[in-house]
């Protein structure tokens, strides 16, 4: 296992302070692999520091929810709350992952297989 990296200590603020006390996101369509990206030229006024950090990170391009959580050293559940708020306020857009609770179709699996075979 990888030892924790220095500088990754938990912040002084408890996780749910940054989410204003909420433990659940406003929507349940956001998955670990949902891609999020910043909408350009949205005013950042009124956003708390954590949301500003998200916007700063997501301004560079698309990242998955899991990557946002890792880059900002936030728990996944906290990250989801923040991202959903930012989607609701029009600061972020999301590219949803494969619909849930549905068997992946043959074409998608074929694409995965083809990708793996051609890369290795």
């Amino acid at each position: 296992m990888t030892p924790p990296r220095p500088g990754r200590d938990r912040g002084l603020v408890r996780p749910y302070v940054v989410t204003e006390g909420r433990a659940h996101p406003t929507r349940n369509t956001v998955d670990l692999v949902t891609l999020v990206m910043a909408v350009r030229n949205r005013p950042l006024s009124g956003l708390n520091p954590e949301k500003r950090r998200v916007m700063e990170l997501c301004g560079g391009g698309a990242l998955s929810v899991a990557e946002v959580a890792a880059h900002l050293s936030l728990a996944v559940s906290v990250t989801k709350v923040l991202l959903c708020d930012l989607i609701d306020s029009g600061h972020l857009t999301a590219r949803p992952p494969v619909p849930k609770a549905q068997r992946p179709d043959a074409q998608l699996l074929q694409e995965v297989l083809h990708g793996l075979r051609s890369r290795f």
Partner: protein, 198 residues
Amino acid sequence: MGSAPVSDPVYVSDTVTTTVKILVVGHFAVGKTTFVGTLSEIRPLRTEETMTRAGELVDDLAGAPDKTTTTVAMDFGRLTLSESLVLYLFGAPGQKRFTRLWEDMLHGALGALVLADTRRLDHSFDIMGLLEEHGVPYAVAVNHFEGAPVFPEADIREALDLLPETPLVTCDAREATSSAGALISLVEYLQTRTPGER
């Protein structure tokens, strides 16, 4: 530099429209992180989730100081498979008590690769049981460790009580072609379970 990201982000290409995930699961020190790192195109990332014993994060808000909390980490990596498709590999521990984390990861996953070690085959039972409970299809890859006993496939199948159709392969998690081969076996198996026409 309080506001800078902890690590330099490598962004997903603008042309990507679909993301999929495959889980790499197994007991402690079976090589999950190595496997993910070998195949990932980005330096593997780690996310952490704090769980109370009951797995209820809301309990944390009650501020009960004596609540037992555990931090669970998952390491993950990314692999761009085509202009439009990205695969995420999530390596995670298989303990049953981390239900919430599991549900998050299992949700929408194509399938799982169970890494096993011939010295501790019985350590894989919990994980396989969990995947079966959640209806997640899986393949088993025996990660080769120096000096670990080599058993005939039939013996390993019997020890793990595998269904005849469950793929069993051997891999070296440190080696890309070998690790990709294990994933390919899993995806080929997933194909056999999916009707060709919809």
